[in-house]
Assembly symmetry: C2
Homo-oligomer: 527 residues x 2
């Protein structure tokens, strides 16, 4: 066997398009199996729709329909009331992977990478050969536009099969329709559950949904106002890396290092900028692009050493403790609900914030399992899969639940009890463990912060449970008292009639004597 | 807050390069933390080097050096004796993500996606700002070529900083040198361990290694011949999906459907091809590109229904039971080693094969933990991370180890004992759970096959342990016998001297009587 030469090998080398890559590795995007694929398609559509509505300042109204159109084949359509998409952008947004508006932006959004929705189109053509049908209308003054498209995977470019203008009866917003191989189930990991959890975390959105069984849901709003739109921020000096700094220095419009620092980073002012330059021994007036490798390195080190304020947090859009509570109350008929929203923190320069809610008892007493149900969220999106690798699960299992009144076998692990534990992480950049965005990487800083949030909320549960416990005790006392009362009165009357003084001791003695007799006779006793 | 219009949003939409994507999501590629990053760089280099040597039919000889060159900064250099790379290809192979020769090929190799080695270059420039230095020489008749390069992340293209020809003293092969932020550790998840496990699974490779502590290793060969080079195969009809079939029909050189089926798929001959056409009600003489959507769909369905032989398995390159055994014996001084190599199986049209080895006792008695050590491999590459989500772990935990002589607390979980369990899956397409290729997705078919392999091998262990146990028993018997022998002889002599007949019963009676007396006296007793 002679083997290949370098020249022969060179003939095999070629570029792989990102669409080819994900077609072959579709499990990385959440298309591992038919049931999950169905959820993933809905999820990507809902993410985009909610993001678009919020960005346009509109209260979201989503209409989701799933129909079985053949053996393991489902047509999914999703319409929003968002701002619509201009015609020129429609093919790329849906027909090109790694195309979007959020990748380079530093503010909280559901979408991050510009892969999700076009991956649905890719999966649709792969499994059923059908094109996606995209319809969008920006306002009543323009015509609705419709595209039928596929993805040319070799080029990662949209392949337009048809385009047309529609009649006027399409309300402004965007609609996507795809036909995919899938499986509809109604258990824990289901589209129904996904949408319910979405409704809880986005109580200002109205979601209508009709499932393949023909059942209709209308998740109505619990709030009639949008949360404040998150603001975009510049990178924080503590989170930047040498390669990124070098690129920023090369591409900046600022013509001096000092102004570069002030303009391109958040929280660097004149004073801290000058301090960085001094510490780095870099001339603040030098042209940024002319910094050599060593100067860049010293600048980066100095940026990490100078005391700089935390990044602003208006780039985040938390749900808020009140809305978490009303979201949970709206969808779950629990005996007790509590919630908490912590102050923002920072990891690797990225602001993030933890919110926790707990619902206990009521209809949850009827749950099938004795373990609590955990609802994990990242940027208001429910995470249904890969819980075992998630920072939320880790924090939950590391919490000592017995202290808070829940049973926890083996002292670490998921606690038991008729409860839902809701945990939300929001951030300008959520570190997901895979492109399918199902699980949050276990950065120690994040795990710690989640744990603190859980503890804060769990103290509320603990107070409720101990009050309930106390209430039970009192109730039992009352019952005993009301059982004894007739006997007390009877004896009091008898003693009084016989001319005895009415003091408590002789009465109680008689009551107890009589009760003992009764007990010895096998009389009924309370508890 | 007015919100954005569709037109304003359109301005934010842009293409994201795959290099930008992975720079931001570098944890997806195994660059989560400095210790892991160091291993990942070595791993990607070793994968490429071994693949190249094998493809060229050369016995691999790798030279790996890691030097600490600053605070948390390491220079890694890796030289192989492979076929070298032609000059024109050098920049793209190392300076462009998703560029390679193995993505479209259906045969077993370590690399799959054309991401790994350029990701190391990306990580290097991101963390230390240093370019990679690549040197390659195809044969003694040509000059060694050297490039200094980075990656232009916005374009995902190599950025060549310098290129030159070197003097003659560089032996044919390829060398990569990068400087990265990292952390060198010597515990379980370490470069040292990674290379040791690599040496075990690739016993025909020689690997020299010098670590940052200045310690040198020379993992020598246990075999002096390469395994047969795996052959490329065509797709199997059972593994194809509609979208892929449609593309194949469009791009084929065959001008009839029947010849298309025969030429483009493995295991379809004239008879099965005709049967597929008949069942699909598709004219076998029709031009493939002219098939409509419904015809394509019927063709696909028919392909799944007709009985077709399994794919050939010479596309696989298993290690083989013998080499697994010598690999384990070479690196581990165990009391007992066994191994097994199962017949190939198929999942989703992809051939795969399971091999298992077990080493027990000897130096393993000194292990720090009481749990067995698991060595997981995919296509001869050790998997050090994400074991909890791996098919191998699942199969291992589902095995009833008590039956095979190992303790297993809680009846499912990692067994205990002084043992190493080695599991290798090889396939034309390993379904990894992430781009960092650390864990095998838990396809039920794969888990089942791994379990069967483990059981087969564990029976060998069980036989050894029961023999050992039996040996122990016999040894004890012998000891008892030799303790009693003097007494027996003594009594026999006495009986004989007194003219008694020498039969066993009276002798034994006397021996036992005497022993009882001795015991009653508190005499020493064996055991």
């Amino acid at each position: 066997m002679p083997g290949k030469t370098a020249e022969e090998m060179a003939l095999d080398q070629k570029e792989i398009s990102v669409a080819e890559f994900f077609e072959k590795n579709r499990h990385l995007l959440g298309f591992d199996n038919p049931a999950k694929a169905l959820i993933t398609v809905v999820k990507e559509g809902v993410d985009n729709a909610l993001d678009a509505c919020e960005e346009a300042g509109k209260l979201p109204y989503l209409d989701v329909n799933i129909d079985e159109v053949g053996d393991n084949k489902y047509e999914i359509s999703l319409k929003d009331n968002g701002p619509g998409i201009v015609k020129e952008q429609m093919p790329s947004i849906f027909g090109k992977l790694l195309y979007g508006s959020k990748f380079h932006s530093r503010k909280q959004s559901r979408g991050q990478q510009g892969i999700g929705i076009s991956a649905s189109v890719l999966y649709s053509q792969l499994t059923t050969g059908k094109p996606a049908i995209i319809t969008s209308r920006t306002d009543m003054g323009s015509q609705p536009k419709q595209f039928e498209l596929k993805i040319d995977t070799v080029k990662n470019e949209p392949e337009i099969l048809d385009e047309r203008e529609l009649e006027d009866n399409f309300q402004p917003g965007t609609e996507i329709k795809v036909v995919v191989e899938g499986k509809y189930i109604q258990r824990y990991h289901s589209v129904d559950e996904y949408l319910k959890q979405t409704a809880i975390a986005n109580p200002y959105a109205r979601i209508k949904y009709s499932n393949p069984e023909g059942e209709s849901y209308d998740f109505e709003r619990a709030a009639e106002h949008l949360p404040p739109e998150p603001k975009e921020i510049k990178p924080h000096p503590y989170g930047v890396e040498l390669g990124v700094l070098a690129r920023m220095l090369k591409n900046t419009d600022s013509n001096k290092v000092l102004s570069f620092l002030q303009n391109e980073f958040t929280r660097i002012g004149r004073t801290s900028g000058e301090e960085i330059c001094r510490l780095a021994e870099v001339d603040p007036d030098k042209t940024p692009a002319k910094l050599g490798h060593n100067e860049q390195e010293r600048l980066l080190n100095a940026m990490q050493k100078v005391k700089i304020q935390r990044p602003p947090t208006d780039c985040l859009s938390p749900i808020g403790a009140d809305l978490i509570k009303s979201g949970l109350e709206k969808e779950i008929d629990a005996e007790f609900v509590t919630s908490t929203s912590r102050d923002p923190e920072v990891y690797r320069g990225n602001p993030f914030q933890i919110e926790v809610g707990i619902a206990y008892g009521g209809e949850l007493e009827e749950m099938e399992t004795d373990k609590v149900k955990v609802m994990r969220y990242a940027n208001k999106v429910p995470l249904l899969y890969q819980s075992s690798s998630c920072a939320i699960t880790k924090a939950l299992e590391k919490t000592d639940w017995k202290r808070y009144g829940l049973d926890q076998p083996g002292s670490s692990g998921t606690p038991k009890g008729p409860a839902i534990i809701f945990v939300h992480l929001c951030s300008t950049w959520v570190p997901f463990t895979s492109e399918s965005k199902e699980s949050i990487a276990r950065y120690p800083k994040i795990v710690k912060e989640i744990k603190l949030g859980i503890q804060e909320c769990a103290r509320g549960l603990q107070r409720h449970l101990s009050k309930k416990h106390k209430g039970k005790k009192e109730k039992r006392r009352k019952k005993i008292f009301s059982n004894y009362m007739p006997l007390v009165l009877e004896n009091a009357v008898e003693l009084a009639e016989n001319g005895h003084e009415l003091s408590i001791d002789p009465i109680m003695k008689r009551v107890i004597d009589e009760e003992l007799v009764e007990k010895a006779d096998g009389g009924a006793d309370d508890e």
